[in-house]
Symmetry: C2
């Protein structure tokens, strides 16, 4: 290991600049995979920036794994700023062009779901949470949860309901969504209320997050002061009932192919779209 | 300035731990506002962690402004991980409890908008971009842009259209939205197609990002191979036309008050909601 490091450092010293790859936007990406002494890094970085500037490069990126945290300080002192971070790495960026900065913005939102699931007896699936602001208050609420990295909203809703209550469901549509700002630090949250159709009915709650789960008559759910006094919870329940009775259309999904051949979901009002002209 | 620093460092040394405030979840927040020597910081942090552990604290947060980048390395060596970063600061976190980690997730999505704006002659507002993958290709596309930090989707759509074309508009509704994963690094993107009603018609394009802007007959827009061959662009235009002709309902907004008395927008199908039961 240390032999590899020494070889790599030597090679880089020989070339007098850091190992880097070019990106598709006239930029440079340095991905530090091996340890390096911070003084050596500082001098290689300085020399590299001079060369990249001469080459007309614009955005310089440095990705530092957590174990290379000794290199954060020299990068900042060389003019880099933080771009984003995940638990295991930090991304730094330095725009060295005179042209206006076209760097991509950092992620700004967290995405969460709430699930409206009703059985044939007009009972809705509700839970009591072990943690958070509703714990211990005896409040029955809709199952909610955060969408995982890379997970689709429609998939997350089904997963959360399964994890919290053991109930198997199928995504029907997004009934409504809400945007909230500064929900944590400077970030925003998009909260999607999803209607799901239940395919099983026996409740098996997940012990760690959920105190209790049950099917509850919708009138009893709505009679809780917590629901009655919150205009959004109240409204969303009415929308859900309206949907059950065939009087509301939210956004359901179609799977589309993007220009880069990836699959992605498009959410829209399929009921209304039946009336779309087949040709202009 | 240096006197203040010295005083502060002395005070902290005297107390033997870092200045910190408690959060509402049994955690501790250290906001480093003054410079500190990295060795002093390392020893104060070690002593502080011992005390916080004894006090049963769970999540420890350290917010480091960019100018205190010398403290990143000692924090990581003390067991901290990156949580998130913005250009001017880095947030580090360390979960020291044996209970399951309930730390909030980092932001996972960027949010962007596309604007469908049509005048009374069935011409839609289109632009040619100076940068990006469509530049120089002579392609006319809908105005698009990223939602700023803390900005509402409906506000961002109106702002982007104004900036790119000079046209004043009013938000009508979200026609559809699309979710894309790994759109940049590991992050996802939510793209909202918004219908806006124009209130002015004279185009004044923004020079830096936009090469050209015009009102274009919708048939000509849709005849472009770029639109014809992209199922999403094609579909979205048909949805927009259907809406113009009164045959489609997307999600419009109402302003609701959250439990913390902040205002936030709820997006839902207002047309269908007219049929909502006023009482259960």
């Amino acid at each position: 290991m240390s032999a590899t490091v020494a070889t790599l450092a030597k090679e880089e010293e020989n070339h007098g600049k850091l190992k880097a790859v070019e990106d598709q936007h006239g930029g440079i990406i340095v991905n530090m995979e091996e340890p390096m002494d911070s003084s050596l890094f500082a001098s290689l970085l300085e020399a590299s920036i001079l060369q990249w500037r001469e080459q007309g490069k614009k955005g310089l990126w440095i990705k530092l794994a957590r174990e290379h945290s000794n290199l954060v300080d020299p990068a900042i002192k060389a003019g880099f700023k933080f771009h984003h971070a995940e638990p295991d790495y930090l991304m730094l960026v330095h725009w060295i062009s005179n042209a206006p900065d076209t760097l991509p913005a950092n992620a700004s939102h967290r995405v969460a779901i709430g699930a409206f699931v009703m059985n044939a007896n007009r009972e809705i699936l509700v839970v009591q949470e072990s943690n958070g602001r509703f714990s211990g208050a005896g409040i029955w609420k809709l199952p909610t949860g955060a969408v995982d990295e890379g997970e689709d909203i429609c998939t997350a809703a089904v997963r959360e309901v399964k994890e919290e209550t053991g109930i198997d469901t199928e995504f029907v549509e997004v009934l409504a969504f809400k945007e909230r700002h500064k929900s944590f630090f400077r970030k925003s949250e998009l909260f999607f209320v999803c209607m799901l159709r239940p395919h099983s009915f026996k409740i098996q709650r997940q012990v760690s997050e959920i105190e209790a789960a049950q099917w509850m008559a919708v009138e009893d759910y709505m009679a809780q002061p917590f629901v009655r006094e919150n205009e959004v919870f109240n409204f969303v329940t009415k929308v859900g009932l309206s949907k059950i009775d065939g009087n509301y259309a939210g956004f359901s999904t179609i799977l589309s192919t993007t220009s880069s051949r990836k699959k992605s979901y498009l959410y829209f009002n399929k009921d209304a779209a039946r009336m779309l002209p087949s040709k202009l």
